[in-house]
């Protein structure tokens, strides 16, 4: 076989190697462009900032219509997690069966419950060891939750947001 063919094959093989590398990278392009990456720390800062800039929605929804309401974890290992609220209550704790499973050594397995009643949302402590706090107040009986009030469960802080 001629020298030229050998050289062409040699260079062609190198080109093939790079074609492979580049096509593998092309497949990964989706990972680099267009993905929304949110730093948890940044999310925490943003969540801690006052919500004043957000226009307050008209507070006259029908009783069962609590759409757009959600629980947001603003502190703790799960910072940034969002639980959309429907018309059913939300169980918070470490047990795998809870709606919001906290990976938090300071929370009890079934720590607290957040439930709707008469168009408002209430938080109730389920006999947890470290207690549930609304602001600085320990929750003894079901307490009504206003949007933006921090609820401390173990090391995590959860807020009701609209």
């Amino acid at each position: 076989m001629s020298e030229l063919t050998i050289t062409l094959l040699r260079l062609g093989y190198l080109a093939l190697l790079w074609i492979f590398v580049l096509s593998a990278i092309a497949v990964l392009r989706r990972d680099l462009y267009g993905t929304r990456i949110v730093e948890r720390r940044a999310a925490r800062k943003r969540a801690a900032a006052p919500e004043a800039s957000a226009p307050e929605a008209a507070p006259a929804p029908r009783q069962q219509r609590t759409q757009n309401l959600r629980l947001v974890v603003t502190e703790g290992p799960l910072t940034g997690t969002i639980v959309p609220l429907a018309s059913s209550s939300v169980l918070i704790g470490r047990a795998p069966g809870c709606t919001l499973v906290l990976d938090d050594d300071y929370s009890s397995s079934r720590h607290a419950r957040i439930f709707p009643q008469g168009g408002a949302w209430f938080v109730e402590d389920l006999g947890s060891t470290n207690g549930t706090f609304v602001g600085d107040q320990r929750v003894e009986a079901p307490t009504q939750l206003a949007t933006g009030t921090p609820v401390r469960v173990g090391q995590s802080v959860i807020e009701l947001q609209r």
């Binding site: 190198l14 790079w18 492979f20 593998a24 990278i25």
Partner: protein, 478 residues
């Protein structure tokens, strides 16, 4: 930690098939070019060889379609490409060895057999291991197994000392390097251990100069692993494995805690250990000497422990230049252990800088896919395991290539997928199988959380409780 909002998920099995085709052309093309370069004709058995490689790759692809349909589409083709190029290079060296009198040869056939066994084992792992979280149950079993594997070569009778390092175990006709498997077992242990203890390791302690220092009593595990890797260095005289295990642990500690202080502590401990080892043990000292003064004539010609092999490898790569001599047209066989420790130098000579860079890029993308899997997967154990395994593949490549190119002292590790060695090939294919399994979990469409909201506050326990349950259910972030 960072949360990534996923795109609409494409399973990517079709893409995988396409990339697999190119990877197979690379492997088979290399084999044909070796025949052309050495003997002037395409090897007569190229069709059978091609059929074998295609069969293995397709079998793995079918297993993925069956058992892990959302697995990462790039990992398997990259692995197949590296393995194919390695096989062709070993075959090329084998042809040169066979022409020499009194030279051991027959590596290519054995490597091909090991490839088949490795692919089969990877497929078995994918079929049997339905959920990587099952491995978390065996955290401490994995620790015992890992430490036992590391210590196995010291057992008299089955342990063997080859070329000064006591890292071989020979039972009957089969020789193994158990440390290669130990790295998988220890990765499982580290992941399981750290996922439960990371809070204490990350949060407790005082801050000094912007570094969050851990408490003294939390230093226990890192000290133990450091001592174990030093013991490997002293008792088995194996610098590479010791570096690899310690590096993996430090990397996983960093992944788990996000505390730079662990990296600083790890580096300080390692530099201290290495400095002591270099002065106290002659074999480590000789490695440093050969690294720093490689081109001194008396260091070059010293046997054993001289820099002759290293410098010949450098000469080989220099002879290759930018575009290489072409497969089968260089003289890589003059370097001792050109098929195992110095396969990178052999490839550098025949494929040149361009080809070697492409191969390093393939390794890099492979590691990147592992780390991407770690970001994407939703449970902490999977994150740490995928991150640790990806790191260990990348780190091993770095240590070998760095050693051969004289960036760091040479250590006796094998290049993942490229170098000759059954244990290394088996272990790395198992790592790939684990990464594929975890990536299947990472890329699978996330379960919708609102569907989990139970009616009336009573949690719907339709799934069984236990270790298989995710401990973290994270959906998206604004």
């Amino acid at each position: 930690m960072t949360t990534i909002e996923p795109h609409r998920v494409r399973a990517g099995r079709g893409t995988e098939l396409g990339l697999l085709a190119i990877a197979l052309i690379i492997g088979i093309g290399a084999y044909a070019l070796v025949g052309l370069g050495v003997e002037g004709e395409v090897p007569p058995d190229v069709v059978g060889y091609a059929a074998g490689l295609v069969g293995l790759a397709l079998a793995m692809h079918v297993v993925l379609r069956w058992r892990a349909p959302y697995a990462d589409p790039v990992i398997l083709p990259l692995t197949v490409a590296l393995n194919g190029v390695g096989l062709a290079m070993i075959y090329r060296l084998d042809l040169a060895y066979a022409a020499k009198p009194n030279h051991d040869h027959g590596f290519a056939g054995r490597q091909l057999a090991w490839t088949a066994i490795s692919v089969a084992l990877a497929a078995i792992v994918l079929i049997l291991l339905r959920d990587h979280r099952t491995l978390r149950r065996y955290t401490y079993t994995a620790m015992v197994v890992g430490l036992a594997l590391v210590a196995l070569p010291l057992v008299p009778g089955i342990g063997q000392q080859i070329n000064g390092a006591r890292i071989w175990v020979r039972i009957g006709p089969i020789g193994m390097q158990p440390a290669e498997f130990a790295k998988i077992a220890l990765a499982i242990f580290f992941a399981g251990y750290l996922v439960t203890h990371r809070d204490t390791l990350a949060l407790a302690g005082t801050k000094v100069l912007g570094l969050q220092l851990p408490r003294a009593r939390d230093l226990g595990p890192i000290i133990i692993v450091w001592a174990a890797s030093l013991a490997v260095l002293v008792l088995e005289r194996d610098l590479g494995t010791s570096l690899l295990l310690f590096g993996m642990f430090v990397a996983m500690l960093y992944l788990a805690t996000e505390r730079l202080s662990w990296v600083v502590i790890g580096l300080l401990l390692f530099v201290g250990g290495a400095a002591v080892a270099a002065t106290a043990f002659s074999h480590v000292g000789a490695r440093f000497e050969a690294w720093l003064h490689a081109l001194d004539p008396d260091v070059y010609s010293r046997t054993p422990g001289g820099s002759g092999q290293l410098v010949q490898g450098l000469f080989g790569m220099a002879a290759g230049g930018l575009f290489g001599t072409g497969l089968g047209q260089g003289r890589p066989d003059t370097v001792p252990y050109a098929e195992s420790d110095f396969i990178v130098a052999s490839l550098g000579e025949e494929l040149g800088l361009t080809g070697l860079m492409a191969l390093l890029m393939i390794s890099l993308v492979l590691a990147e896919r592992g780390l991407r899997t770690a970001i994407g997967v939703r449970d902490g154990f999977g994150k740490l395991l995928a991150g640790g395994l990806a790191f260990v593949v990348a780190f091993q490549t770095f240590v070998v290539v760095g050693g051969v190119t004289r960036l760091i002292p040479l250590t006796g590790l094998t290049t993942p997928f490229l170098a000759y060695g059954g244990s290394s090939l088996l272990a790395n294919w198992v790592i790939v199988a684990l990464l594929l399994r975890i990536s299947n979990d990472a890329r699978r469409p996330a379960p919708v959380l609102s569907a989990l909201t139970p009616a009336g506050g009573i949690p719907a326990l339709d799934e069984p409780e236990g270790d298989d349950e995710p401990t973290e259910r994270i959906r998206t972030v604004r």
